[in-house]
C-alpha cells in the first residue's frame, strides 16, 4: 500500500498543458511519471497526450519525449531500449499510448515488441475512443457507447487487450484507473522493477468524450471500478492478484446504471445492452476470481 506521502511531489507534467478540463489522462500521466522518476524517456504516438504537451519549441513535460507516428511507438521503443541497454544504460523506456494507438493501429507493433521481450513499460491510457481527433469509436469503445462514428451506440463489445497482452506472457501487467492514483502509482513503480516488457492499462475518464461534467472525472473513475465495468488487478509472472477496490466491488457492486447515467455517451442505451454489460461484468468477476484462486 502506497500512502500519499510516498508519492513524490515532483511534477513532470507542468502547469501549461492544453489538456481539456477534467482530463483523466493528464491525471494518470502525472502519477505515471512520478512513479517512473527522472531517468525516463517517454515514447509517445499520436494521441491526446502528444497533443497537449504543447507546441515547439516548448514542452509541458519535464522528461524527454520521443514523439512518433501512431503505429510506431512500440517498435521505436524497442529500438531505443535495445540501444540504451547495449550501451549499459538503465534509463527507463516508457511508451505512453492511447487506446487507439494500442488496441487498433499499433497492435502489431505492440505484439512484436512484447514477443521480442523489449525491456520497456507500455502504458495504455484508455478513454475508450479517439479523443484527440474528436471522439470516434476505437476498439476500446464499450458496446452501447455513442461516439461520433457510432452515433446510435457502438454495436460491438470492447476489445480485450489485457488478455491479448497476457497471451504474450509478460513478467508483469496490471490494470489501473486515473481515479485511484495510489494504486496506479504503485503498479507503475512495480512494473518498472521488472526486466522485459510490462504493461499497465489505465482507464482515463474523458469529460468531452464520455459527455459528463468536467468535475466528475474522479467520481466516474470510481464508479467504473465500483460497478465492476473496469476491474483492477495485476498479474505478476502469470499470478493474478485482484486489487482491493475490485475485491470490494466483487462483494458488493454498485448498480451499473449509476455509472452509465451521468454519461451522455450512454444516453438512450437499451435495456438488452445494459443486461449484456452486466452479464459480462459478472462473467469477468467469475473469471478473475477463478484465476486468482488458481482453479
Amino acid at each position: 500500500m502506497v500512502v500519499i506521502a510516498e508519492i513524490p511531489s515532483t511534477e513532470y507534467v507542468l502547469n501549461c498543458t492544453s489538456a481539456c478540463a477534467g482530463c483523466g489522462d493528464s491525471l494518470a500521466l502525472r502519477y505515471v511519471l512520478k512513479a517512473a522518476g527522472p531517468d525516463t524517456i517517454l515514447v509517445m504516438p499520436a494521441g491526446c497526450t502528444a497533443a497537449f504537451q504543447g507546441v515547439y519549441p516548448k514542452t509541458a513535460y519535464a522528461l524527454p519525449v520521443v514523439n512518433i507516428a501512431f503505429a510506431a511507438a512500440a517498435a521505436s521503443a524497442s529500438g531505443l531500449s535495445t540501444f540504451l541497454r547495449a550501451k549499459g544504460k538503465k534509463t527507463k523506456v516508457v511508451v505512453y499510448a492511447g487506446d487507439g494507438a494500442t488496441l487498433d493501429i499499433g497492435l502489431s507493433a505492440v505484439s512484436g515488441a512484447f514477443e521480442r521481450r523489449t525491456d520497456f513499460l507500455y502504458v495504455c491510457y484508455d478513454n475508450e475512443a479517439y479523443g484527440n481527433t474528436g471522439m470516434q469509436r476505437s476498439g476500446a469503445t464499450p458496446i452501447g457507447a455513442k461516439t461520433t462514428t457510432t452515433p446510435a451506440g457502438k454495436p460491438e463489445i470492447k476489445k480485450d487487450i489485457d488478455t491479448i497482452i497476457a497471451a504474450h506472457e509478460p513478467p508483469y501487467q496490471a490494470t489501473a484507473c486515473a481515479a485511484y492514483p495510489q494504486d496506479l502509482f504503485r503498479k507503475v513503480q512495480k512494473a518498472l522493477t521488472f526486466e522485459g516488457p510490462t504493461f499497465v492499462h489505465i482507464l482515463t475518464p474523458c469529460p468531452p468524450g464520455w459527455r459528463y461534467s468536467a468535475e466528475k472525472t474522479v467520481e466516474l473513475g470510481k464508479l467504473a471500478v465500483k460497478s465492476g465495468i473496469w476491474a483492477l488487478y495485476e498479474r505478476e509472472n502469470g499470478k493474478l492478484v485482484i486489487s482491493a477496490p475490485t475485491k470490494a466491488a466483487m462483494k458488493k457492486p454498485v448498480p451499473l446504471e449509476e455509472y452509465l447515467a451521468p454519461q451522455g455517451r450512454f444516453k438512450g442505451i437499451d435495456s438488452a445492452t445494459v443486461a449484456l454489460l452486466k452479464g459480462r461484468i459478472a462473467e469477468n468477476f467469475r473469471r478473475l476470481a477463478a484465476e486468482e484462486a488458481g482453479s
Binding site: V55, T59, V65, V66, A69, L80, S111
Partner: protein, 370 residues
C-alpha cells in the same frame, strides 16, 4: 582482397565494416539475404551489432528511428512492398534528421504479384527527404554502402540514405569484388542532441506552420549541402582505395550527339550499346546518374537524350525523363522499359537510340513503332 560476391552479400559485408549499433529488419524478396548475412555475422560474433527482428517494415524503420534518436548508427534493408509499407516512417526518419542507411533492392509493386526489378518502389519515396543513389555493379554496391554511412552522418547532411540496387539483376548476380580495410574512413557517429533524460526535450513535438516551414527549408539546404559532402567522400574514397565515383557516371558522352540516360544496371548496360553505336558511326554516349536525390548537375546542353525509365508516374510519364526535361529544358525521347523485370539488352538500348523520336514516349514491348 579479391573475391566473388553477389550484390546483396557485398552490401552486407560493407555494412559490417561500418559497425552499426542497431540493425532492425524484416525479410522480403529479393532483399532477404542482406539482413540474413548480417544476422549470421552477429550470431557468429563477428559483428557487435544489436539485431532486432521486427514484425514489419513499418517497425523496422520505427526501431531504427527510436535507436537513432538516442544516437545510434542504424541500418535496415527492404524492397518493394516493404518500402511502401515503411513509407510513413521514411518520412519520419528524414524529418527527424536521422542518418539511417538503408539498402533497397528495387522490385515491382503488385498487382500482378511480381518479384522482379523495377524502380517504382524507390521512386515513390522520391519526396521524403532521403538521399537516393542507384548502383550498377557488385563493387559499386559495396563501395557505395561504405560511403553512405559517412555521407548520411556528416553534420552538414544528417539525412537518411537509400542505396538502390536492382532486384536479381544485381542483388543476386555474382561479380568480382575487391574488399577494403576501411580504417578511419567512416568516423564514429556523433549525432547532435541525442535523447537524454538529463536534458529533457521534446523530439518531434507539434510544430506550428512557421517552424515546420523552417524545418523543411533546412532539409532542402542539407540536400544541397550533401552534394559537396558526397563529392568529398567520393574523392577521399578514391584516394584511399583507388576506385573513382561521381554523382553521375559519364561514358563517351563528352563529344556525343545523343546520350542515353538511365539508372542502375540499365545505365551500365547502356555503355555497351554506346560502343556498338559508335562502331556504326553514331556519336552516342551515356550518362548514368548515381545520385537521384540530390539530383546531380549534368552537362547535357545541345545533346539529344534517350532517357530510359524503369518506373512510371501514371497520368504523367517516366519520372527520370520528366525530371531531366524540367531541370534542363531539353527534349528527350522517353523510353519506358524494364518494368516488372522485363529483359532489356544492350542491343535493345542501341535500337532505342537508332530509332529515337525526340519529344515522344515509347513503351518498350508495347508500342509498335520501334
Amino acid at each position: 582482397m579479391r573475391k566473388i560476391s553477389t550484390g546483396n552479400k557485398a552490401v552486407a559485408e560493407a555494412v559490417a565494416l561500418a559497425r552499426p549499433d542497431v540493425v532492425a529488419a524484416y525479410p522480403i524478396t529479393p532483399q532477404s539475404d542482406i539482413v540474413e548475412t548480417i544476422a549470421e555475422f552477429v550470431a557468429a560474433g563477428k559483428l557487435d551489432t544489436k539485431y532486432i527482428p521486427v514484425e514489419s517494415e513499418h517497425s523496422s524503420m520505427a526501431a531504427c528511428i527510436g535507436a537513432g534518436i538516442a544516437g545510434a548508427r542504424t541500418f535496415t534493408a527492404t524492397s518493394s512492398h516493404g518500402l511502401t509499407y515503411m513509407h510513413e516512417m521514411t518520412n519520419w526518419a528524414a524529418g527527424a534528421r536521422l542518418p539511417v542507411v538503408m539498402a533497397n533492392v528495387n522490385r515491382s509493386l503488385a498487382p500482378g504479384w511480381n518479384i522482379w526489378v523495377e524502380h517504382s518502389d524507390a521512386i515513390q519515396e522520391r519526396d521524403t527527404g532521403w538521399l537516393q543513389i542507384w548502383v550498377s555493379t557488385v563493387q559499386e554496391a559495396y563501395d557505395t554502402t561504405l560511403m553512405a554511412f559517412r555521407i548520411a552522418e556528416h553534420n552538414d547532411v544528417l539525412l537518411p540514405v537509400m542505396i538502390n540496387l536492382d532486384g536479381f539483376t544485381l542483388s543476386h548476380i555474382m561479380q568480382p569484388l575487391d574488399t577494403v580495410e576501411p580504417g578511419d574512413f567512416i568516423p564514429p557517429i556523433h549525432l547532435p542532441d541525442p535523447v537524454d533524460p538529463a536534458h529533457p526535450a521534446g523530439y518531434g513535438t507539434i510544430a506550428g506552420p512557421a517552424d515546420q516551414f523552417r524545418f523543411r527549408y533546412k532539409m532542402e539546404q542539407a540536400m544541397q549541402d550533401a552534394k559537396a559532402v558526397i563529392a568529398e567522400t567520393e574523392q577521399d574514397f578514391a584516394r584511399r582505395f583507388g576506385r573513382t565515383y561521381s554523382a553521375a557516371e559519364e561514358y563517351r558522352a563528352g563529344d556525343a550527339d545523343v546520350v542515353v540516360v538511365a539508372l542502375g544496371t540499365l545505365g551500365k548496360e547502356a555503355e555497351v550499346a554506346v560502343d556498338i553505336l559508335r562502331d556504326e558511326g553514331i556519336k552516342a554516349g551515356s550518362v548514368r546518374p548515381r545520385w537521384f536525390r540530390p539530383f546531380p548537375d549534368l552537362d547535357l546542353a545541345g545533346k539529344e537524350l534517350v532517357v530510359i525509365d524503369r518506373d512510371y508516374s501514371f497520368g504523367f510519364g517516366g519520372v527520370l525523363a520528366h525530371e531531366i526535361r524540367s531541370k534542363y529544358l531539353t527534349k528527350v525521347f522517353s523510353v519506358i522499359a524494364g518494368l516488372g523485370g522485363q529483359e532489356v539488352t544492350y542491343d535493345d538500348i542501341a535500337e532505342f537510340v537508332r530509332k529515337r523520336r525526340i519529344g515522344e514516349e515509347f513503351w518498350f514491348g508495347v508500342s509498335d513503332h520501334v
